[in-house]
Symmetry: C2
Subunit: 226 residues, 2 copies
Amino acid sequence: MELDVEPVARESTAGIIARQLRAAITTGSLAPGAQLGEAELANQFQVSRGPLREAMQRLVQEGLLRSEPHRGLFVVDLEPEDVYDLYAARTAIESAAAIRVIRTDPRPVGELWTAHERMTSAADREDPAAVSDADLEFHERLVALSGSKRLARMMRTLMVETRMCLTALQRTYADVRERVTEHGAIIEAIAAGDERLATALLERHMEDAVRRLAPGTSLFASRSEG
Amino acid sequence: MELDVEPVARESTAGIIARQLRAAITTGSLAPGAQLGEAELANQFQVSRGPLREAMQRLVQEGLLRSEPHRGLFVVDLEPEDVYDLYAARTAIESAAAIRVIRTDPRPVGELWTAHERMTSAADREDPAAVSDADLEFHERLVALSGSKRLARMMRTLMVETRMCLTALQRTYADVRERVTEHGAIIEAIAAGDERLATALLERHMEDAVRRLAPGTSLFASRSEG
DNA sequence: GATCGTATGATTGTCAACAATCCGCGGGTT
DNA sequence: AACCCGCGGATTGTTGACAATCATACGATC
């Protein structure tokens, strides 16, 4: 009787709603700065305000929602400094993930080639949305490969914010080929077990992203600007 | 009329309760694995179950509480693999913070000497609790210095988990002098603007901590064990 | 005697009503 | 015209009650 099944009913209502709210923010149907009316949302989800409020508290903790007591909950709007901060945080998480993959078992890094191929084909048929999807999938899979619960949880939040950036700034940013190439180089560096190279490539990849999103600025320079 | 005051009433009830719950977990009065009875806790906080449940959802999102639907909420108990994971995550966050401090403005790193001194004096009068306090304060201040909202938020959660480790394993771990020395070296490396050295020292500092907590094992080796 | 089924108590999940706060509008005053 | 005051509608915060689920103990059956 040793069949290793996973327990049923493992997700609470608040968890489900939280996931959907995250998705709504990702797609932009909940725009940055928008207020989340409890009555309206509760109606849409077909639940009462109780479970909805519990779910929203999760996103507050994630930093995806901002709470103004007695006034309401709002989708955070990302200031320019947040763009730097976001990508700096991603650099930290993803570099750590890459190192961990290298030190434990670099072999399954090959899985990343599937996301890489998907991104290539999306680029060929010039489908910006699909390109972004594959792009982010690459990064999220990388962190998932590390097997770290904590890195994965942090990454999930950062992914949502990344998409907020992309849709807010309306930049599915060009230079697709360059990004694909960079991804490939990262995979190879990890497969080769070269920590220094992998982290350097990741850092540069992020630098490029920030430059594309907020031209003329750079990572790790948030103090000099407002 | 340009006095820059910060808005009043900026914290919701859920936020306050969440903070107290976090504190209760750090002190160990909410032990790992313990169930959080809603009725009992609500009584202690003198609120109804609604706001309490909202607060608890925040900790679930942080990974400090584990939710078993229709059964209850429990304080997570840290498995051996979590110790590795925790310190790997801390390495990621703190290294990134150090780098960011170096690249923006290394000067205020001097503030860390106060925590360093506090740790030294606590060591002299052989007060293990005060040593741990000063130790963690050092690390948290380092991340705060980075000025990164995201790194700071992640760090707060990791600090709670770190304390859970310490109290659970009953190791305020010895070698106090060694740790103090390491802290000093980290400060100097940052002040000197040496990224490589600072991150290397931080990583080694974490390695040592893991070794002290779970002897015979090492960071980044979670896959080889169960 | 072991196992299954059932009843009971306790706990969690959900809801709708009530209280408190905030926002906008109109009236009045200077 | 600008400002202050206060009212009404709307939204958020909180509560206690109800429904659903789970854990435990007891008794029946094989």
